[in-house]
Symmetry: C2
Subunit: 258 residues, 2 copies
Amino acid sequence: MSKTPLILVTNDDGIFAPGIRVLVEEMKAFGKVLVVAPDKPQSAMGHAITIHSFLRLQRVELMEGVEAWSCNGTPVDCVKLAIYKLLGGSRPDLLVSGINHGANISINVLYSGTMSAAVEGAMEGIPSVGFSLMDHGIEAEFAHTRPVVRRVVANTLQHGMAQGICLNVNVPRADHGPLKGLRVCRQARANWEDEFETRLDPGGKEYYWLKGEFRSEDHGEDTDVWAVKHGFVSLVPVQYDMTAHHAIAALNTLDHAL
Amino acid sequence: MSKTPLILVTNDDGIFAPGIRVLVEEMKAFGKVLVVAPDKPQSAMGHAITIHSFLRLQRVELMEGVEAWSCNGTPVDCVKLAIYKLLGGSRPDLLVSGINHGANISINVLYSGTMSAAVEGAMEGIPSVGFSLMDHGIEAEFAHTRPVVRRVVANTLQHGMAQGICLNVNVPRADHGPLKGLRVCRQARANWEDEFETRLDPGGKEYYWLKGEFRSEDHGEDTDVWAVKHGFVSLVPVQYDMTAHHAIAALNTLDHAL
């Protein structure tokens, strides 16, 4: 592409999270950067949007030469506001989301605000990539994620992206050892074995905190779970067509008379 | 199945919405009913879960012979609390969500709290169905949805559901005319053409309300958009494997060296 690409950056950990700074720094080498990100942590907000309340945007100083706005809504709200409020309906050339503090492998693509922002980008016809580091810590080491971001973004700007998809990229923790490479994967079949920790408030009334353990029984070497466990970066193409096309034929054999 | 089925009912419009009453009334004929639903409207919350705050459950009187709890969280929180708190980790035989006040066709499956609850059910291995009526009104007419609910639930209890999927059922408005039948469909390719209405608060500071127009350019007669437009109930099998399997081969031709 001949003109300077416009790159929209968002995340779900909030605009002042370390991970988004890394992404913004890297994107400055690729084009003009617009940041619209939540004003507070919005992890696990999935594809939520704000319809029962209003939204605000606040200009913030994030980094020199970068236009940055914080938003009181969800990651998907940020994408919509960027396109339909700040850009007047025109589309950026690329959307990147992250770098998330924590893994978004397997079914976590559905819970993740980071990935939902990328999915929203795909719905809007924007080549979109979500990046996640498998380290929740606020002081997580991001240096080894930079070459990954550069490679995936360069490929995306050069080759574009198929209609209807976005990319889910997960990078092992720094202390896992040198990255072994990048593998294109499928989303592993896995689930959360949840638990609620019950506590009593000062008035003696119960409340619950969600705790869960991620469990994958899917040992396929073509999965994202396998890749990151073995020191590879996983890259999963994600589509927003959730139709189980393979299930249609069997459903058509049932009696659906009303 | 020989024992009385246990049926979990939830929604996203809140536990006192008319739509969930219809669903609970119908479910009483099929088995033992447990209701866990949000204490306030949670439309468009997608697959959001509550991790930065705590959850509560409150026993409520909804209908005679029915155990009902309201929850301060999202629809997906309700499903998790039902399974892991109220049922001690055991699974109900069926999960039904709705009846939603408003359509959940096409890409709205991603934004919908109603459908996200059903998707969560599928993740937990529970045969799960989301029902939606294409009428947002609080006084919407639900009588014509009852035979639809009965047919789909009877089929599901009799035949079970394939692993990894749930069903998204949308019913045209009552004033659309008599239902022409039920069609198994795929999710139409469509998008929201969004807009933000800008207002000024009393202090002169801008705020924004999301407004959007749903647009489908996909005229396939096998889509949910086509079905409901032509007076049919649409039934789309939905999967939570979001991998774009068809895109993997092309991605593998790129240079991913780090």
